[in-house]
């Protein structure tokens, strides 16, 4: 039965072994890095030279080409992280858990970028650096969720316990994220102090949307590249006593 599953995967299952995944990841990184560079260059070109000036916000709206893609990535990466953590917990595969651990810092940085760019967008648009609108507040809570995951793993010495504990936390987190988001959205509409919302962005010209999408793809490629690089470092750390690593270092 197991051989059938392995055969059905077309031999790809073998890459669940860290010693085979390590060189594969190493080969993939340059491609994703190149894709990221190309897409971001294109996205920035569209964002600055093709997309028109906004009627109400002038040039300040161009921050969305950073703000929205990073916000999307922050949410996407959390789900991906939780996915790999869950796989690692369910199938007891080390590499899946390592991947989750590798993604977390990138997700946290994306969240930070979303918050920072959101604040700098808020200042000229609404007058204050921080607006307690639903999206920014949810992003802040998401940052805490990422940092909590990283803090929990950092506090546990045994790597397998850290993997599994992080997985439970990530799964609980991912279930809660929609609940948190909707409750924050509701909270925001209640306290209609400022009837501001960063989600009421300028009505999107098609070029603006394209620019955002291209930048989002570029951020995605970057996230993959950097997470693969980080997981390679994690593999080196965790498997440092195994023979294949020693061979690798010996040959290097």
């Amino acid at each position: 039965m197991q051989t059938n599953v392995l055969a059905a995967g077309g031999g790809w299952w073998k890459y669940a072994a860290p010693n085979l995944f390590y060189p594969l990841a190493g080969k993939m990184i340059p491609w994703f890095a190149a894709a990221a560079t190309a897409l971001c260059a294109l996205g920035l070109y569209i964002g600055f030279f093709v997309a028109p000036t906004d009627a109400t916000q002038g040039e300040s709206y161009r921050i969305i080409f950073i703000h929205v893609p990073s916000a999307w990535m922050s949410m996407f990466l959390y789900v991906v992280m939780a996915f790999w953590a869950a796989v690692g917990l369910a199938l007891n595969t080390r590499l899946s858990s390592m991947m989750a651990t590798a993604i977390a810092p990138t997700g946290a940085i994306m969240t930070f970028i979303a918050l920072w760019s959101g604040a700098l967008w808020g200042r000229p648009t609404w007058g204050t650096y921080w607006v307690w609108d639903a999206r920014l507040t949810s992003e802040l809570i998401l940052l805490f969720l990422y940092l909590g995951f990283m803090a929990l793993q950092a506090a546990i010495d045994d790597p397998r316990r850290a993997d599994k504990a992080g997985a439970v936390l990530a799964i609980v987190g991912v279930v809660n994220v929609p609940i948190i988001y909707f409750s924050v959205k509701w909270w925001n509409t209640l306290h209609q102090g400022a009837s501001v919302s960063l989600s009421k962005a300028p009505t999107m010209a098609a070029t603006m949307l394209t620019g955002m999408l291209v930048m989002a793809l570029g951020f995605w490629m970057y996230s993959i590249a950097i997470s693969l690089a980080r997981v390679r470092a994690i593999i080196l750390e965790r498997e440092r006593r195994s023979d294949w690593i020693k061979e690798l270092a010996g040959n290097a």
């Binding site: 909590g148 546990i156 599994k164 439970v168 409750s183 209640l190």
Partner: protein
């Protein structure tokens, strides 16, 4: 099954009763924190009335978090927890019992004393009643979600602060709904929808969290 539940609840209540000071301290902390706020923001009645729901609820969150280590730490230290893990009784059931006892000993006193806090902040009768109802529905969720955090961080250094970091973001919906219910009543709209949602959240938590806690306990102990 009910017998097991009752036995677990009884045991934990008995243990808590023997350490009454512990329990009382949590309640005291709750009241002290709430008292600090007017000292910090000034005693203007309108201001206090408007911030009361949020203040009481935030204090409830903090008090819940502080009391969490009582859930598993003692049993972990003397080996009882391991016995629970290998017992024939389903672990989620035991977890539910322990969490229920925890709620009886922390959440219920907090809810009860909200009456006094309502007076301190000059809340109306409707508001105070809603506050107590929201606490009655919300504190079980705090105990249940908190149990997940307590189980994950069992035996770790930096325990108390780490648990807070993990659990507070997850508490946000309860906080918003709980405080929101009272504010809605104060604004003349009904608190009903909020309380119903809180109830739904409570049911959701009762059904799902014991499984997460059980998984976390097995991970932490083995």
């Amino acid at each position: 099954m009910l017998r097991t539940l009752a036995a677990v609840v009884r045991r934990d209540l008995l243990l808590a009763f023997r350490q009454r000071a512990d329990v009382a301290n949590t309640l005291l902390f709750f009241v002290v924190v709430v008292t600090m706020v007017p000292l910090g923001v000034g005693a203007e009645p309108n201001l206090l009335r408007s911030i009361a729901p949020g203040v009481v609820w935030v204090a409830a969150l903090l008090a819940a978090i502080l009391s969490l280590n009582r859930l598993f730490a003692a049993d972990f230290a003397d080996g009882t927890l391991e016995q629970m893990l290998i017992s024939a009784e389903p672990l989620p059931l035991i977890v539910l019992g322990k969490t229920a006892a925890h709620w009886l000993v922390t959440g219920v006193p907090v809810t009860a004393i909200a009456v006094v806090l309502g007076i301190m902040f000059d809340l109306g009768v409707g508001e105070t009643a809603t506050l107590m109802a929201s606490l009655a529905l919300g504190t079980p969720v705090l105990s249940l979600i908190g149990a997940v955090g307590a189980a994950l961080t069992l035996g770790l250094r930096g325990g108390g602060v780490l648990v807070s970091l993990l659990v507070l973001p997850l508490y946000v919906p309860v906080l918003i709904l709980g405080a929101g219910s009272v504010e809605a009543v104060a604004a003349g709209l009904g608190g009903g929808p909020y309380l119903l949602l809180l109830g739904a959240l409570a049911l959701f938590a009762i059904v799902l969290t014991p499984w997460a806690v059980s998984a976390a306990l097995r991970i932490s102990v083995e």
